[in-house]
C-alpha cells in the first residue's frame, strides 16, 4: 500500500505537502470502500442468482417481477430488510443480540482483504494470506453462537450449538486441504500461490493438475468449505425443516440481512480461495497478463478470476438444490472419520511427492521431457 501511496504522491504535485501516512490511510479507505461495494453487490446479485438457478432447476421461473426479468429483486430485498422493523425478543440478551450479526458479517467480509482479484489488484498482499483467512472466518462461529444463545429461543440455541460444532470441526479439513497449494508455492501469500501457477503451462500449470493428491485435495477442500459456510448438505445451523430456522429465527430486518449477506460473503470467499489455490487464480492461460499495460493487465486478470470464482459459486448453488441435509451426528462423523483422515493422508502424499520430484508436478515433468 505504501508503494502505491508514494507513486501517487509523486504523480500528483498537489499532495506533496501532505504527510505520507495520511495518504496511505486515505488510500486504504478508498480501497476498502471499493471492496465493500463489490462484496455487497456480489451478495445481492448472488441471492438473486441463487433464486434464479433454483427456479431453473425446479422447473419454475424464479423472481421476474421486480425490474426487467427480476434483475432488481435483490435491491427490493435489501430495501425491504432495511425498512422492516427489527424486533428484539423481550427476554433476549440485548447487547449480544445486537452484536451477533456484526461478528458474522465482519468475519466474512474481512477475508476479502486477501482475495487476489488481479495482477496488482489485491487489497493487502499479506504474506500470511491463507493463515489470515483461516483466522478471520472463524469469527463467523462466534457470531452464530452469540445469535443462537442471545435470542433466548430453544430452536436458536440448538442452531447455535450445531453451528459451533460444525464450523469448528470443519476448520481442520479446510486448513489441511489448502496446505498443498502452500507447499507448492512455498509461501502463504495468495499472490505468490497464484503466480506459482502461472507460466507457459497454461491450464496445466494449475495446482489442480499438479499431482493426483492436489487434484483430490481440491474436492476435499470444496466439500469441507461447503460445510464451513453452512451450505445445503451441511446447512444444519439454519435447518428450516427441523429447527424452524436455526440461529436466525428471532432476527428480522437488517440484522437478518447482515446474516444473509455474510452467508453469501462466505460463499464467495470459498469460491475465491478455491480458484486462487487450485484453479490458477487470475492467470490467463498461455498469456502473461503482467506484460500488458497496467490498466489492461488488471482488467483481463480480474475478468478471468471472477469467471472462475462465479463458476465455483454456481456449482455450490447447483449442489445446494440437489442434496438433502445431514443429521448432526452424521455431520460430525463425516468430519472426523472421513474428511480429517483423508486430508492428512493427502497432505502426506503431496509432501512426499514434492520431496521425490523436487516440486515439479506431472505437467511440469512432461513439459521438461519435451524441453
Amino acid at each position: 500500500m505504501e508503494a502505491l501511496a508514494i507513486s501517487l504522491v509523486n504523480a500528483v504535485p498537489l499532495l506533496a505537502g501532505v504527510p505520507l501516512w495520511t495518504v496511505t490511510l486515505l488510500l486504504m479507505v478508498v480501497v476498502a470502500a471499493v471492496i465493500l461495494v463489490f462484496a455487497l453487490t456480489f451478495e445481492g446479485v448472488g441471492s438473486l442468482v441463487l433464486r434464479k438457478v433454483a427456479g431453473d432447476i425446479q422447473a419454475r421461473i424464479g423472481p421476474n417481477r421486480v425490474g426487467p426479468n427480476g434483475m432488481l429483486q435483490f435491491l427490493a430485498d435489501g430495501v425491504k430488510l432495511v425498512l422492516k422493523e427489527d424486533l428484539i425478543p423481550a427476554s433476549a440478551d440485548r447487547l449480544l443480540f445486537k452484536l451477533a450479526p456484526y461478528f458474522a458479517f465482519v468475519g466474512s467480509f474481512a477475508a476479502f482483504v486477501v482475495v487476489p482479484f488481479g495482477v496488482g489488484l489485491i487489497a493487502a498482499d499479506l504474506n500470511i494470506g491463507i493463515y489470515y483467512v483461516m483466522a478471520v472466518t472463524s469469527l463467523v462461529v462466534i457470531g452464530v453462537l452469540l445469535a443462537g444463545w442471545s435470542s433466548n429461543n430453544k430452536w436458536a440455541l440448538l442452531g447455535g450449538m450445531r453451528a459451533a460444532a460444525q464450523i469448528v470441526s470443519y476448520e481442520i479439513p479446510v486448513g489441511m486441504a489448502l496446505i498443498p497449494a502452500v507447499l507448492i508455492a512455498g509461501s502463504l501469500s495468495l499472490q505468490d500461490i497464484v503466480r506459482s501457477q502461472g507460466g507457459l503451462l497454461g491450464i496445466f500449470g494449475w495446482n489442480l493438475f499438479h499431482n493426483p493428491f492436489t487434484f483430490f485435495s481440491f474436492f476435499l477442500y470444496f466439500t469441507a468449505a461447503q460445510a464451513e459456510t453452512n451450505q445445503t448438505p451441511f446447512d444444519l445451523p439454519e435447518a428450516e425443516s427441523e429447527l424452524v430456522s436455526g440461529y436466525n429465527v428471532e432476527y428480522s430486518g437488517i440484522r437478518f440481512g447482515l446474516f444473509f449477506l455474510s452467508e453469501f460473503g462466505d460463499m464467495f470467499i470459498v469460491a475465491a480461495l478455491a480458484t486462487a489455490c487450485f484453479l490458477g487464480g487470475w492467470n490467463v492461460p498461455y498469456f502473461n497478463a503482467g506484460a500488458l499495460p497496467w490498466i489492461w493487465g488488471n482488467l483481463l486478470s480480474l475478468g478471468v478470476f471472477l469467471t472462475k470464482a462465479f463458476t465455483m459459486v454456481l456449482i455450490m448453488m447447483w449442489v445446494r438444490w440437489t442434496l438433502p441435509r445431514l443429521r448432526v451426528d452424521q455431520l460430525m462423523r463425516m468430519a472426523w472419520k472421513y474428511l480429517v483422515p483423508l486430508t492428512f493422508v493427502n497432505l502426506l502424499g503431496v509432501s512426499l511427492w514434492l520431496l521425490v520430484f523436487q516440486g515439479k508436478g506431472i505437467p511440469g515433468m512432461i513439459a521438461s521431457l519435451f524441453g
Binding site: 431453473d56 425446479q58 472421513y338
Partner: protein, 217 residues
C-alpha cells in the same frame, strides 16, 4: 467398519450425488421445462364442468326450496310469496358464497336447472357482506307489498264478479232457486282496507307493512 466399507461409503456417496446432480443439471440447462404460469397475465383454461360460483337464473327458478334443503351448510336463503296467479313469486334469493363449499349438491337437485355453476373463481373481497350474492335486486319487502296488492285486487275483482253473479243468480233465483254456495270470506272491506292503507302511506312508494299472506279461497 472395515476399510472396504469405508471406501465403499465414499464411492457410493460420490456416485449417488453425481447421479442426482445429473438430473438437476438436465432440468437446469433446458429452459423449456418451466411449468409455472404467470397468473394474472396467463390463466389456465377452465374445463366446462368447473364448479365455480353459483348463479341462479331467477326467471326459471320456481322457488321450490329444494336447494335450500339439500345444502349441507345452509348458505342459500330464499323468500317467496304466492302470487295472484297461484305461482310463487321470488321475493329474495341470496347465496352466501363466503360459506359455500362448491360441493354442487344444489345444482344437481335443482328441478328447473336454473341454478348453475359459473366458471368464476375470483371474488376476493374485503367485506364479508360482499360475499353474499343477491339474485333479486329489488328489496324483498317491496315485492311482498306489490304482490299483496295484486292478490288483493284479484281477490276484489273475483269478489265483484261473484257479487254480480249473485245478483244475476238472485234474479235467476227469483225464477229458479240456485244452490250456489259462496264462502265470501273475502268481503269488500278487505279490498277497501288495502286501498286505505295505500292512501294513508301517502307520497312516495306505497310502503305497505308486511301484510299477512292472503289465502285465496
Amino acid at each position: 467398519m472395515g476399510l472396504k466399507a469405508y471406501m465403499n461409503d465414499i464411492v457410493e456417496a460420490v456416485v449417488t450425488t453425481a447421479k442426482g446432480m445429473r438430473i438437476t443439471a438436465r432440468y437446469g440447462v433446458n429452459p423449456k421445462e418451466e411449468v409455472t404460469l404467470q397468473y394474472p397475465e396467463e390463466r389456465w383454461e377452465i374445463p366446462e364442468g368447473y364448479r365455480g360460483f353459483l348463479h341462479n337464473d331467477v326467471k326459471k327458478c320456481t322457488s321450490c326450496t329444494m336447494c335450500v334443503k339439500v345444502c349441507p351448510i345452509d348458505c342459500i336463503s330464499l323468500e317467496a310469496v304466492r302470487g295472484a296467479d297461484k305461482k310463487m313469486v321470488l321475493a329474495s334469493y341470496d347465496i352466501n358464497i363466503g360459506r359455500c363449499m362448491y360441493c354442487g349438491l344444489c345444482v344437481e337437485v335443482c328441478p328447473p336447472k336454473s341454478l348453475k355453476h359459473t366458471a368464476g373463481y375470483e371474488m376476493a373481497s374485503v367485506a364479508r357482506g360482499e360475499l353474499i350474492l343477491h339474485f333479486i335486486q329489488e328489496d324483498a319487502a317491496e315485492i311482498k307489498a306489490r304482490v299483496a296488492l295484486q292478490v288483493a285486487e284479484v281477490a276484489a275483482k273475483e269478489a265483484e264478479a261473484k257479487k254480480a253473479a249473485e245478483a244475476q243468480a238472485v234474479t235467476k233465483a227469483a225464477e229458479v232457486p240456485s244452490s250456489e254456495t259462496e264462502s265470501a270470506d273475502l268481503s269488500s272491506e278487505a279490498v277497501r282496507a288495502a286501498k286505505e292503507e295505500a292512501g294513508k302511506a301517502g307520497g312516495g312508494e306505497p310502503k305497505a307493512t308486511k301484510e299477512e299472506e292472503k289465502k285465496p279461497e
